[in-house]
Every structure is written in structure tokens, then in C-alpha cells.
């Protein structure tokens, strides 16, 4: 009887340490408050539903990025993969596709995303290249290919797809259901043995290796996940923007990393979770919202994003330095 509360407090501490949602939730509350003050119709269901539709693509991307970062890497090519899959899907569907053509296009897009992730993963996990340099380099390959497939924005998608994106299911928007599915799948994943491997590889890969964890395979898998999630992101973007754009993913790489950081996942790996990153996306989008409603020039957004990442990278070092001086 006495043991239960002890275990509970330890579990709470563990959750707090492992996924520091607290900071994310605090930021979320601040962002929502400021937004609600600036935008009077903020809480109207139709506005909220619209918001959710704009959040979804980045959420999918950030979910994939989270897995890579927990595994001790980082994927700087996700934006380029989004661009490539985006134009590939629109190009394959052509002008007026049948249902099978649509499924073929989406299937091809998802396969391309996974393949791009496979290339990254092989370079990092088996050829032992630096994740940052590798994915930075491959990002140019992917964005080059995107421009080759479609050199300027264009094409359109069947209205059915656009409707599906905006539809409701059981009284709630479809995009919300997708978010729920992502969270459920993530929670399943982290409850499996694979989930333990993921945290172990990111936390201390050498320890994991001598314990018999298939370190390279786990690393490879994180990049495939991330490539696949980038492809899903592209499909969501195609459905919401109704057209193809070879440059659409460009700014999303930094945004995905910022969302992960805001969600309490440490950039050094071995800690964090997807749920935090989804909250991070909402915070990030609300900041963007605030900036546009407060009539601040939009270039501030890039600066704010960059500062958040910089702070996340330097934060632990600064804290350690201050502690040492004391």
C-alpha cells in the first residue's frame, strides 16, 4: 500500500524528465491567450477546424523528425522530400484521374518518401556519415529532383480529395482523427521493444550496442519513418493546397525541428516524444498567427524559429557553464 504512491511520484518525475511537456503547455497557454486577445473569433469551431487543417502537415512532418532526433540523429532533408513527393503526386494524378489513378499516385509518393529515407538511413547507419552533413547534402538531391519533376507550381487535384481533407467524421474534423491516429500509433510504437531500442540508441549507442541492440538497423528505421512521414505530409499538403509546388517543403525543415524542440525533446537524443512535438506545432503556428495579426513583418518568423533552435542547442551548455562557475 505504501509502495504505490512512491512508484507514482517516481513515474511522474520520469515523465517530467523524459518529456518535459510542462514548458510546452505553458507556452501553449500563453500563445492561446495572446491569440484570443488579438483575434476575437479564435474559439469559433469553424476557425478552429481551419486551424487544425493548416497544422496537420507540419504535425506529420514533426512526428517523423521526432523519431529521428530521439534516435540520436537529425533529418535536414525532410522539407525537400515533402517538395519532391508533393509534385510527384500531382504529376502522377494528371488532370482528371480515376480513383485507381489517385491511389497509385499516393502510393508512389509514399514509396518515394520511404526510399528517400532509406538512402539517408543507409548513409548514416551503415556508411557512418554525419547525419547533419548527409541529410543536408541529400536535401539538394531531393529538391533538385522536385524541380525536375515540375519546375514551377501548377497542376490540380480532384475536388473529392479536397473535400475529404475538409470533411467531418463522427462530428469531428477528419484532420483531428488523423492526429489521434498518429498519437495512438506512436504510443503503440514506444510500448514495443522497438521503442526501447529507439531510446537506448539515442541515449547511449555504445551501451545499446554491447547490450545486443541492433543499433544500425534502428538508426536506419528512424530515417525511413521520417521519409515516410514527409511523404504523408506532402499528401496532406496536396489535399489542402489543391495544387503542386516544387518549393513548398523548403521552410518546413527548420519548422519541424523547432516544433520538436518546443515539444521538449532534447536535440541530443534519447529522450522526448511525439505528443510534445504536436503541441510544439500548435505553439509554432500560433506564434505565426500572432505575428500576422499584430502586423509584425513576416520575416520575424524565420528569426524567431532560428532563435528557438539556437537556444535549444546552447541552453544545456549555458546551464552547465553557469553551474560550474557557481
Amino acid at each position: 500500500m505504501i509502495r504505490i504512491p512512491v512508484a507514482n511520484t517516481i513515474r511522474l518525475r520520469r515523465i517530467a524528465l523524459r518529456q518535459s511537456y510542462r514548458f510546452a503547455l505553458l507556452l501553449l497557454i500563453i500563445a492561446v491567450t495572446v491569440n484570443a486577445a488579438l483575434q476575437s473569433n479564435f474559439f469559433r469551431p469553424s476557425v478552429l477546424s481551419d486551424d487544425l487543417q493548416t497544422y496537420l502537415p507540419l504535425m506529420l512532418l514533426a512526428a517523423g523528425q521526432t523519431i529521428v532526433i530521439i534516435g540520436g540523429g537529425v533529418d535536414l532533408s525532410v522539407g525537400a522530400i515533402v517538395s519532391l513527393v508533393d509534385v510527384l503526386v500531382v504529376r502522377t494524378m494528371g488532370g482528371n484521374p480515376g480513383a485507381s489513378q489517385v491511389f497509385l499516385a499516393i502510393g508512389l509518393g509514399l514509396a518515394t518518401g520511404a526510399l528517400a529515407g532509406l538512402v539517408n538511413g543507409i548513409c548514416v547507419a551503415y556508411l557512418r556519415f554525419q547525419p547533419i552533413v548527409t541529410t543536408f547534402a541529400t536535401s539538394f538531391v531531393f529538391s533538385g529532383l522536385a524541380l525536375w519533376v515540375m519546375s514551377s507550381p501548377g497542376g490540380n487535384v480532384p475536388p473529392g480529395l479536397v473535400d475529404a481533407y475538409q470533411a467531418n467524421l463522427l462530428g469531428l474534423p477528419v484532420v483531428l482523427w488523423v492526429m489521434v491516429v498518429v498519437l495512438v500509433l506512436w504510443n503503440f510504437l514506444r510500448s514495443t521493444r522497438y521503442g526501447r531500442y529507439l531510446y537506448a540508441v539515442g541515449g547511449q549507442s555504445m551501451s545499446a550496442y554491447v547490450t545486443g541492440v541492433p543499433v544500425s538497423l534502428v538508426r536506419l528505421s528512424t530515417y525511413i519513418f521520417s521519409g515516410l512521414m514527409a511523404a504523408f505530409t506532402a499528401v496532406a499538403l496536396v489535399m489542402s493546397t489543391n495544387t503542386g509546388d516544387p518549393l513548398i517543403g523548403g521552410p518546413m525543415t527548420l519548422e519541424s525541428i523547432v516544433a520538436v524542440v518546443l515539444g521538449g525533446t532534447r536535440l541530443s537524443g534519447g529522450q522526448g516524444g511525439v505528443a510534445g512535438s504536436l503541441i510544439g506545432v500548435v505553439i509554432l503556428s500560433l506564434i505565426l498567427n500572432i505575428i500576422s495579426f499584430a502586423n509584425i513583418p513576416t520575416w520575424w518568423q524565420t528569426l524567431v524559429n532560428a532563435l528557438i533552435v539556437l537556444l535549444a542547442l546552447t541552453g544545456p551548455g549555458i546551464v552547465a557553464l553557469v553551474r560550474r562557475k557557481l
Partner: protein, 502 residues
């Protein structure tokens, strides 16, 4: 169920260095075998070969009489052979339970890890050490929050959770307190009774005699004998570990060193490893730090050089000092030659000139007088008899011995008062070693005080005026003149003090 493991005539080379020339070992169910040997005798290499971490060049492993070949730690583990690692194999950001069951978690049909079962089984394992660990050591505690002794216990339990048939404990008691060691030994007796075979590697003589049934002794890569522990005395065991008591001096004792003024004294130095070490050093004296690897020798050097924080008093030439950064130590005339020359001592792709001059550039003015710098470097290179094409040759094209001379040479330019050497001849060929010793003798003659840590006992005996032997972060013995013998050194390393040792 009986099991037996034998290693026969195992040989392992690392490059040109022979780590193991004839390793033999035999252990079977229901016994604890101690594996002992002085520094560099090949204990770790032999245990790594048994557990599949490294592959032997020659020789064979027999498991129950069957010839075996382990290509990885996993294949050894599948055969029930496991090792408790000394440098820990835990993931700090995961819980105790997750670490113990990593890679063999209990899973349900849906592949989901059965957390409740894992926690319960972890609790059962932790109960083995009840009374010797804090109550906060729960399955849910994060490993990063645990003190070193509890981490070591988690490491032992992790290996135990694999239900091994043969367990190797490599210095597993080093970070445990006496009650935890007692408990571990009780458990080892239980495991023995259940049919487990245990190989116990330790540097503590007292523990070996307490827990082991037999002992196998390694000496410079060779198994020299096996004995039953109730039929051998500590002195006999020490004698097995050393070849002969004849010491060959590489350089002469410095006679004046006993009367010259005090250069450096250290009072009760404490770091995470050191537990109150005091020592003194005269001008022109060569003091050796002995003992098994990792007993705090390197910590003394790093602390004196201001590279790691420490408590205690340091007096340099009559003045109390406490360096917190290597720059301060350098300014006061202290120089440090690190053991890992590739990582800490040299800029491998840069030239000999740049490496020699790196700590001394400020002498050559704001606009560097390169001609003068080159001339000075050339003088040092000649003094060291460096074999190189020119001063512009990158150091990574030099041989190991020559590269190490460069590491020493860069401090010679600064004419240090105190020279700290951290295992400086590791991986250096014999010829270069001889030249290195000659330079040390010259430096000492010129009044430089030297503290030398060496993992080779021969070096300590052949070079030093005095040797302090460390054991578990404390001074076990101070050897000089008549007590500076091989058997005194080995005995003190193993934690026994006999004869005239202080």
C-alpha cells in the same frame, strides 16, 4: 547441469603489440576462478576473447569439450557466457527496469512490452541486494540519478537477468562498498551452488582469497599457472605474478634529489576517484605513480595541471596554489604529456614545427618571428634526435615513438619546472623508449621535477627515484631504495602491504 569452458593457447596481437601470447584458462560449474596478473598481463584481453568481444588470432575455446567460435558478444551470450562490464553499459536516460531488460524485454503477443511484469521481475532482482541499497533504487528510477555503486549493481543484475551459465566479473567490486561486496559474495556462493561458473577478475588480494576457489595467473600475456587458493599464500601468489626480482635500471638514481629543496607538495587531494592523497616532490626528482590502471594516477596529474576540479592543498615552490585551468598551471611552469597523444597531445595533420611551438607562440611577438621559432624548434628536434624529413612534415607521418617525442618536445621549449607524464611510452618501440628515457634523465639533471605514471612496472622500477603505489584512490605504499622492488610493487598494487612498505 554441468558446464565447462576452456581457453587453450590463445594468442592476440594488436598491430605489432602482443597482448596475449599463450592464454590458458579452465573453469567449470560450481566454482569461482580468480584471474590475476599485473598490468598489461592480458587479463582483459583473455576475458574479451571468451565473451566474443575480440576474436583471437590463434588458439581455441572449448565449451563442454566442443570447439566454439564466438563472432560477437551476442553469440557468446546465446551460449550462456556473459560479462559484467567495468565501463558501464547502461543508458543513462532509461529506467533501471528498462536497462536491465534491454534487448530481452518480456513482450506480449502484440509485441507490446509487458511493463508490469518487467517491473515485478526487476523488483525481485533488486531484492537480492536489499539492505545494501537505498530504498529509492526502484525499477522506475532513472539510471542517470544513481550513484556509481548502484549503477554497478544494476549492471550486475542486468547480466544476471540473462540467466547465465558462465559469468565473468571484471573488477566489478571496484565501486561497491564493503556491505555490497559481502552481499555479492553471498550471492556468488548461491550461484555457484546452482551450477554457475564464475570468473572473478580483481585487483584486491583479500577478495580473491575470500571468494575464489582457484586462481589462474597471467604474466606478460602467458598463463603461468593455476593454483588452489587454500594451498597458496599471498606471497607465493605475488611471486607467481612476477618474473624475477632483478631490476634493470634505465637511468641512474639522482643522488642529490634526496637533499634538494622541495618543489611540490600535495596534501589530502580528493577528486571523484582520489580519496585523500598526499605526496611531495623535490627539485630534480623523478617520482613514479604505480598501481593497477585506474586507481587515480591520472587524476593526480590532471588535477595538478588544473584540468579537473579537486579538493586539497597544493604547494608549489613554497607558494600555495590551486589551478582551475591548464593555462594557469602552464604559466607556473607545469607541463603535462598526456597518454592519448593522438587525441590530447598532438595536432596530427599539422607540421612538427607547429606542434612543437603550439604552447610557446606568445614568445615570438604579435607578428610571429617565424625564423626564430624555426631555429628554436630545430634545436629541440635535434636534442630529441627526431627522425623526420623536415620541420614541415605532418606529425601523423612520424612513427609512434617520434610522435611522442614531439609531445614531450613542445614542453621542453618552455623549460618546465614540473613535468607530468601520463603513461608516455604506451605503444612506443624499444629504441625510441631508450631515447625518451635519456631525455628524462637530462631534464632531471637540469632540475626539472618529474611525476611519471606508467602502466609498465619495468619503467617505474627502472626510472624512478621513488614510487608511490595507489590502490582504490589512496596511497597504498611508498617505495624507495631497498623497497623499490618488483614484488613490493606488485604486492602493493594488489592491496597488501608487507615487508618494509609504509
Amino acid at each position: 547441469m554441468k558446464i565447462s569452458l576452456a581457453a587453450q593457447h590463445v594468442v592476440k596481437h594488436y598491430g605489432g603489440v602482443i597482448a596475449l601470447s599463450d592464454g590458458n584458462l579452465e573453469v567449470q560449474s560450481g566454482e569461482v576462478l580468480a584471474l590475476v596478473g599485473a598490468n598489461g598481463s592480458g587479463k582483459s584481453t583473455l576475458s574479451k576473447i571468451i565473451t566474443g568481444v575480440v576474436a583471437p588470432d590463434e588458439g581455441q575455446l572449448l565449451l563442454d569439450g566442443q570447439k566454439m567460435h564466438f563472432s560477437s558478444p551476442q553469440s557468446a551470450r546465446r551460449n550462456g557466457i556473459v560479462e559484467v562490464y567495468q565501463d558501464l553499459s547502461l543508458v543513462p536516460d532509461m529506467t533501471v527496469a528498462e536497462n536491465i531488460w534491454l534487448a530481452h524485454e518480456p513482450v506480449a503477443w502484440s509485441k507490446i512490452v509487458r511493463n508490469r511484469e518487467m517491473r515485478a521481475r526487476t523488483r525481485d532482482l533488486l531484492d537480492l541486494f536489499t539492505g545494501t541499497i537505498r530504498s529509492s533504487l526502484q525499477p522506475e528510477a532513472l539510471v542517470s540519478t544513481l550513484p556509481p555503486d548502484e549503477k554497478q549493481i544494476v549492471e550486475i543484475l542486468k547480466v544476471l537477468s540473462l540467466q547465465p551459465k558462465i559469468m565473468i566479473l571484471d573488477e566489478a567490486t571496484a565501486s561497491l562498498d564493503s556491505r555490497q561486496v559481502d552481499r555479492l559474495f553471498e550471492l556468488m556462493a548461491e550461484w555457484k551452488a546452482q551450477g554457475m561458473a564464475v570468473v572473478f577478475i580483481s585487483h584486491r588480494m583479500e577478495e580473491i582469497f575470500r571468494v575464489a576457489d582457484r586462481v589462474t595467473v597471467l604474466r606478460s600475456g602467458k598463463t603461468v599457472g593455476t593454483a588452489l587458493l587454500d594451498q597458496i599464500s599471498q606471497q607465493e601468489l605475488v611471486n607467481m605474478m612476477i618474473e624475477s626480482d632483478v631490476v634493470s635500471r634505465y637511468i641512474k638514481h639522482h643522488e642529490e634529489a634526496t637533499s634538494s629543496p622541495m618543489r611540490l607538495s600535495v596534501e589530502r587531494m580528493r577528486t571523484s576517484v582520489l580519496r585523500g592523497v598526499s605526496l611531495s616532490l623535490r627539485e630534480g626528482e623523478l617520482l613514479g605513480l604505480g598501481g593497477l590502471r585506474g586507481q587515480g594516477q591520472t587524476d593526480i596529474l590532471l588535477a595538478l595541471f588544473g584540468a579537473i576540479p579537486f579538493e586539497g592543498q597544493v604547494t608549489l615552490s613554497g607558494r600555495s596554489v590551486h589551478f582551475t585551468h591548464p593555462r594557469q598551471a602552464m604559466r607556473e611552469g607545469i607541463a603535462f604529456v598526456p597518454g592519448e597523444r593522438g587525441a590530447q597531445g598532438l595536432l596530427p595533420v599539422r607540421s612538427v614545427l607547429e606542434n612543437l611551438q603550439l604552447p610557446s607562440w606568445r614568445r615570438y611577438g604579435p607578428l610571429l618571428q617565424l625564423g626564430k621559432a624555426r631555429k628554436d624548434a630545430d634545436t629541440v628536434a635535434r636534442r630529441l634526435s627526431l627522425i623526420m624529413q623536415s620541420l614541415n612534415t605532418p606529425v601523423n607521418s612520424l612513427s609512434g615513438g617520434n610522435a611522442q617525442k614531439v609531445v614531450l618536445g613542445k614542453w621542453l621549449l618552455r623549460e618546465p619546472k614540473v613535468l607530468l607524464l601520463d603513461d608516455p611510452t604506451k605503444g612506443v618501440d624499444v629504441g625510441a623508449k631508450g631515447e625518451f628515457y635519456k631525455i628524462l634523465a637530462e631534464l632531471r639533471e637540469a632540475g626539472t621535477s618529474i611525476i611519471l605514471y606508467s602502466s609498465e612496472d619495468e619503467e617505474l622500477l627502472g626510472l624512478c627515484d621513488r614510487v608511490i603505489v595507489l590502490h582504490d584512490g589512496q596511497v597504498q605504499a611508498e617505495l624507495a631504495d631497498v623497497t623499490l622492488t618488483r614484488s613490493e610493487l606488485v604486492a602493493a598494487s594488489m592491496g597488501t602491504a608487507h615487508g618494509g612498505a609504509v
